[in-house]
């Protein structure tokens, strides 16, 4: 079956503009995660969704970052008033449910470049 997909694959924007990144999880996966990967670094957790529960937003770096998910489907990560330090690869992952031992399946990422 299809894996996790993300769009766009690349996004170049100007400082101060808003961007929206999209993630399509694997069908049937109730948990969805967003991570950020800066050049040469590991992944930083941003936010996760589990079914209809309130999302865990503890990793969002500032109030310019927000994410939405409707039910168990598509999620969008929005970055408002982008800054150069927002440049990174944004990775989405999904799993059957949000438990510690479940494998997370990752999408190919969106490479964001803020000029």
């Amino acid at each position: 079956g299809a894996g996790v997909s993300q769009s766009p694959s690349n996004k170049v924007t100007e400082k101060g503009k808003d961007v929206e990144l999209r993630c399509d999880p694997i069908s049937g996966h109730t948990a969805l995660y967003w991570y950020r990967q800066r050049l040469g670094q590991g992944l930083e957790f941003l936010i996760y969704f589990q079914g209809n529960s309130a999302p865990d937003k503890s990793g969002l770096p500032s109030d310019r970052f927000s994410a939405e998910r409707t039910g168990e489907s598509v999620s969008t990560l929005t970055i408002q008033r982008t800054q150069q330090e927002d440049s990174a690869v944004y990775l989405c992952a999904s799993s059957r449910e949000a438990v510690s031992y479940n494998e997370q399946f990752f999408g190919p990422g969106t490479r964001l470049t803020v000029l």
Partner: protein, 115 residues
Amino acid sequence: AQSVTQLDSQVPVFEEAPVELRCNYSSSVSVYLFWYVQYPNQGLQLLLKYLSGSTLVKGINGFEAEFNKSQTSFHLRKPSVHISDTAEYFCAAPLSSGSARQLTFGSGTQLTVLP
């Protein structure tokens, strides 16, 4: 202290030689341990995971890892590497605090297999 530490950022090795990629974890993570591989311009793919039971875990592509509680380590090994193993490797574990479900990642090890 960092939750998951990968001691080597770059590991060059000749084809058909053995390799070990090191990972240590702290008490701030649950003892569910994962190794992911990221090939160029692709998302992360699970290599193997330790949840419980046998401390020697076998994964895909001939990789294995050994969980060592006394040394708080989960090193990844392969007895004979191929050019196609060139990639970035990440060790990860879920945080043990609260209801955390997200993974915390090491900073990654770039494995380069030389002909």
